[in-house]
């Protein structure tokens, strides 16, 4: 197993073209678990930890450009916290402080798990994913980027570079259900926003279907919205919970989420 450590984005993209099978590693909070459990033995690992272009975030005319290497801990810090409050709340639900210091948004997108905690709040905010290869970069709407359980729209020679989002300023929140009060994979989760400017109720759930999914309804239809969210889900029974419970919990979370956002 070779580990390649590029020092710039250009070098990273070149290496990814030379080694399309190379598995990128950022915080390692998914990949190292897979290695330790002997589930994956990639021939080449591409270490993105030393690529400065992936770090930090910037703002240009209201558009946030968040580097793929942004950690959950960084997403929880001001001023990002005020700009994307549901993302900050979601980041707080991830693992332990150590995991939040290591894990990145880019990694969450790369893994594309139905349970990825950052995905529902980014869906609610209509985020786009900026991906790049030596041939150039492209933007993919997040809901198109997530194509299936642990599958995304990335081509073999591409890397995730950034997340682009124009904060709505809408009242929003994120909630995650787990049988333990910290450090759990979501049994199900829900991000909710009440966007008065657009006249929309927006919610996105996790762990209740093959991919996190965005559900939108007109502002006036708040009463029926929890049922709409629950019916949009296609949960399964697994070791973490039952389909029936997930549907039930989404309904409860939607009621509470709306209550929080409408009161704000």
């Amino acid at each position: 197993m070779d580990v390649l450590t590029p020092r710039s984005l250009d070098e990273a993209l070149r290496l990814k073209t030379e080694h399309p099978d190379a598995v990128p590693i950022a915080g390692g909070t998914d990949l190292m678990v897979a290695l330790n459990f002997d589930r994956e033995r990639p021939g080449v690992i591409l270490n993105l930890g030393e690529v400065p272009e992936l770090r930090g975030w910037s703002r240009d005319d209201g558009l946030l450009r968040i580097g793929a290497g942004l950690t959950y801990a960084e997403a929880m810090a001001e001023p990002l916290r005020s700009l994307l409050p549901a993302l900050a709340e979601a980041s707080r639900t991830v693992g332990s402080p150590q995991i939040r210091n290591r894990g990145t948004l880019g990694g969450n997108l790369g893994t594309a798990s139905p349970a990825g905690d950052s995905l529902p709040p980014l869906l609610v905010e209509d985020a786009e994913v900026e991906v790049a290869s030596l041939g150039g970069s492209r933007r993919i709407a997040l809901h198109e980027f997530l194509v299936g359980p642990k599958q995304n729209a990335l081509a073999p020679e591409e890397l995730i570079v950034a997340v682009l989002v124009r904060p709505s300023g809408a009242p929003q929140t994120f909630m995650k259900v787990g049988p333990r009060n910290a450090m759990v994979i979501a049994v199900c989760s829900l991000a909710v926003a009440v966007d008065r400017e657009r006249g929309e109720l927006r919610a996105a759930f996790g762990s209740a279907g093959p991919v996190p999914l965005l559900v939108i309804a007109p502002l006036a239809e708040a009463d029926g919205f929890p049922a709409l969210v629950a019916s949009a889900a296609s949960p399964i029974d697994d070791v973490r919970g039952t389909a029936a419970y997930r549907r039930h919990a989404l309904r409860v979370l939607a009621v509470r989420g709306l209550e929080r956002c409408l009161a704000a």
């Binding site: 995650k176 259900v177 333990r180 910290a182 973490r240 039930h248 509470r256």
Partner: protein, 758 residues
């Protein structure tokens, strides 16, 4: 006997079980809180666990395990693996030099599967290679030709299905002769007139899932050939001498040729009573002539040790209108999994403590443990009493509701006291302050409910941010329970200690103590040093590494017995050493064997005592729990726990509080989240991602009162303390959840579905 081969032990300052671990810190005497000798190295990461061992020229072993719960083995093809890079040995059952089977009570478990695998994860073959990755890769090239068989997975049906052990290894051991297939042991306790009727009756059917010990240090150890045909095994274990006695026959060696040395133990809780890598590592080491280290991965660890028996319990309690218990009838079905391990003793414990710490004149208790193709079960903290406490305390709450009597009053009214007779016919003697622990726990005042709004971390759902107070109900629960201390039913139990007294450089008296009692994190190292200092009246005492090489058996770090037995043995040996030195005036080296009061077997037909008591001693505890439950999402936050525990005499009070907190956390885990899940006998959540154990947000502040009522037979009046908190806490948490939700909640761990009523 040759000396153990010196080890290169990395980063070791205070490793019990290595020469570097000789302790001589300032530790206090019996009754004083003393800082753990291994506390700082464990906290800073400098402590060497069994997985940190290394030796020059060491190979790495790997175990090939069954992916089937039940299958016939038609053949094992190893030729490709043998030729892989770095591989030094590939071994199967053909290579087991001696006895092919071993076991704690019956030798029913193959060292390596022979013609059949009976559980998911059963060991089938072994590889030793230069690097662990080479060993894993070679293991992947071993082809086992399996013919899958229908697994026995429903314990209710197991007694009607094909026997998994057709030769009935459990027959003829003096237990009730039960001819049904797949019965490991069945037992009946018949006491008084079980048909006696009360004024009221409550019934319930209760279920307990499979709990895992979930120790953080996976099974690991190092086997080192001594060059003379013998072997030294450095391993994290609970009972060195019984490891040796199981290992030696399988290796076709004399017991003296096998020396077990305790390596740093990363948690045990019963899960290290059975062998793990000991024989396997030794086989590879003897075959290759090189030291061999084996470290299980996390997933492998979930299949590498026995678990707590899952149980189904049917219970009926009959009582008079004034609250007095008239009769208890209970049927207990335990699933032992593929091999017996210590199941027979778990059956007896489940029966013996089925009624709880209450006076019951009439009882019929039936307990059966079956073989199945589910994960093997054996010892875990609480050992049969946890399952029944969950049931009897739910029953006591039901009875209190039916009779409209305060649950605490009902328990006080029925509390056992010395002079009372247990359902086994044993008369309680010595110390047993049930009413006192109930009163003391009941008198602890929980805090007032916190105001809203609050940080979500202080609400059910915790960091998930699921409620700001919506759906949250508060409930207060109560439970009491008890358990035996030390081994029972006629087991000839003992503990040896050796004390060397000698003059130091300045002529001052110094002592070295040998005892094979396993330090599994419970703090017996401190206890031994405290006892020696107390008895000898000196400060300079060192404890030698625990080993079978130079001292007799200490028995197991189990059954809340290690502090009792080690204190008894060290006390005896210290007194003998002082006496001999006084008499001879020279340096002395004496070994003494301590035995607790004798016990007798129970009658196989009636479950009544024969000749004398079946149990040495009992310890009880009571616990009050405050829970907040989000009844719409089924999530729980425990707010506060108050408990009182019967400890006899606290040798090291700080360590006793630690045991109460840790034991309670383990019971909280069983109540709320810990369960090994299976499908067709296959484990589906063998990781800490999906086998959840409580975090600091799940364990509330625990206020503990120590009730010190000296046990006349215990050294210094002490009793064991490790298990009672685990016995009562699951029951107490469920009592609080029922109070908050109004639901029956008859199964643990509680699923959110059940709380919300799906």
């Amino acid at each position: 006997m040759s000396a153990p081969v010196p080890l290169l032990v990395a980063r070791c300052r205070a490793l019990p079980g290595s020469a570097a671990g000789k302790h001589s810190l300032e530790l206090g005497r019996v009754g004083e809180s003393a800082a753990r000798v291994d506390g700082i190295p464990k906290t800073t990461g400098e402590f060497a666990y069994s997985s940190d061992l290394a030796a020059a020229g060491m190979l790495w072993g790997h175990t090939v395990r069954s992916r089937h719960a039940h299958a016939r083995i038609r053949g094992i093809e190893i030729s490709e693996a043998v030729g892989m890079p770095g591989v030094h040995a590939v071994l199967t059952h053909d290579d087991v030099p001696g006895e092919k089977r071993y076991g704690l009570e019956f030798p029913d478990q193959p060292v390596l599967a022979i013609d059949r695998v009976r559980y998911f994860g059963e060991a089938v073959a072994l590889v030793a290679a230069e690097h662990p990755e080479q060993a894993r890769r070679a293991a992947a090239k071993i082809t086992v030709d399996y013919e899958p068989l229908e697994p026995v997975v429903d314990p209710e049906r197991a007694t009607e299905q094909e026997p998994l052990h057709p030769d009935r290894p459990t027959a003829g051991h003096g237990y009730l002769d039960d001819p049904r297939p797949n019965v490991i042991r069945s037992m009946v306790v018949r006491h008084g007139d079980p048909d006696a009727l009360g004024d009221v009756s409550v019934e319930g059917v209760y279920e307990v899932g499979i709990q895992d010990q979930a120790f953080l240090g996976p099974e690991s150890g190092l086997a080192v050939p001594d060059g003379e045909g013998g072997i030294d095994i450095y391993v994290a274990t609970q009972w060195l001498h019984v490891d040796r006695d199981q290992v030696a026959p399988c290796l076709a060696l004399e017991p003296e040729q096998v020396r077990i040395h305790l390596a740093g133990v990363g948690g045990a809780f019963g899960g290290r009573e059975d062998l793990s890598m000991q024989i396997h590592g030794a086989m590879l080491a003897l075959h290759t002539g090189r030291p061999v280290k084996i470290v299980y991965g996390r997933e492998e660890s979930f299949t590498g040790h026995v678990h707590r028996h899952p149980a189904r319990i049917w219970a009926e309690h009959r009582a008079a209108l004034d609250g007095r218990l008239v009769a208890v009838r209970m049927r207990i079905l335990l699933d032992g999994g593929a091999y017996a391990s210590s199941s027979t003793a778990v059956v007896a414990n489940a029966c013996a403590f089925a009624c709880g710490p209450y006076r019951v004149d009439n009882a019929l208790i039936e307990s059966t443990c079956v073989y199945s193709n589910n994960p093997p079960c054996g010892a875990m903290r609480g050992f049969g009493a946890v399952q029944t406490c969950f049931a009897h305390e739910a029953q006591m709450d039901k009875l209190a509701a039916v009779l409209d009597i305060d649950p605490v009053e009902l328990r006080l009214l029925n509390a056992l006291e010395p002079g009372d007779v247990l359902p086994t016919g044993q008369t309680l003697t010595g110390s047993f302050p049930v009413a006192e622990v109930i009163r003391r726990a009941a008198a602890l005042d929980p805090p007032e409910p916190e105001e809203l709004p609050r940080d979500p971390l202080r609400l059910p759902g915790g960091s998930g941010n699921t409620t700001h107070g919506q759906g949250v109900r508060r409930g207060i629960g109560f439970a009491a329970g008890f358990k035996n201390i030390c081994y029972s039913e006629g087991f000839d139990d003992s503990c040896a200690a050796r004390v060397r007294l000698f003059a130091g450089g300045a002529g001052e008296l110094q002592a070295e103590v040998h005892c094979a009692g396993a330090e599994v994190g419970q703090g017996v190292t401190n206890v031994i040093l405290q006892v020696a200092r107390t008895e000898l009246g000196i400060e300079s005492v060192v404890l030698a590494p625990a080993s079978t090489a130079d001292v007799g058996s200490a028995g197991s770090a189990s059954a809340s017995r290690m502090t009792w037995m080690a204190a008894g043995a060290v006390q005896l040996a210290c007194r003998a050493a002082l006496e001999e030195r006084e008499r001879t005036g020279v340096d002395v080296d004496v070994e003494r064997v301590y035995r607790h009061p004798r016990t007798w077997p129970l009658d196989p037909e009636t479950g009544q005592i024969t000749g004398g008591p079946a149990h040495v001693s009992f310890a009880c505890a009571a616990m009050k729990v405050v829970a907040e439950v989000d009844v719409e999402l089924g999530l729980t936050r425990l707010v506060w726990i108050g408990t009182a525990q019967d400890v006899g005499k606290a040798v090291n009070p700080q360590a006793v509080y630690g045991q109460i907190e840790g034991g309670t956390a383990q019971g909280i885990g069983l109540a709320l989240m810990e369960e090994i899940q299976t499908r067709g006998g296959l484990i589906t959540n063998a990781s800490f991602t999906d086998y959840l154990i409580p975090t600091t947000l799940d364990v509330p502040p625990i206020v503990a009162e120590l009730v010190e009522d000296p046990e006349p037979d215990g050294p210094y009046g002490l009793k064991g303390v490790g298990e009672p908190p685990t016995v009562v806490s699951t029951a107490a948490v469920l009592s609080a959840l029922r109070a908050a939700t109004g639901r029956e909640l008859a199964r643990v761990p509680v699923r959110p579905d059940e709380i919300v009523g799906l």
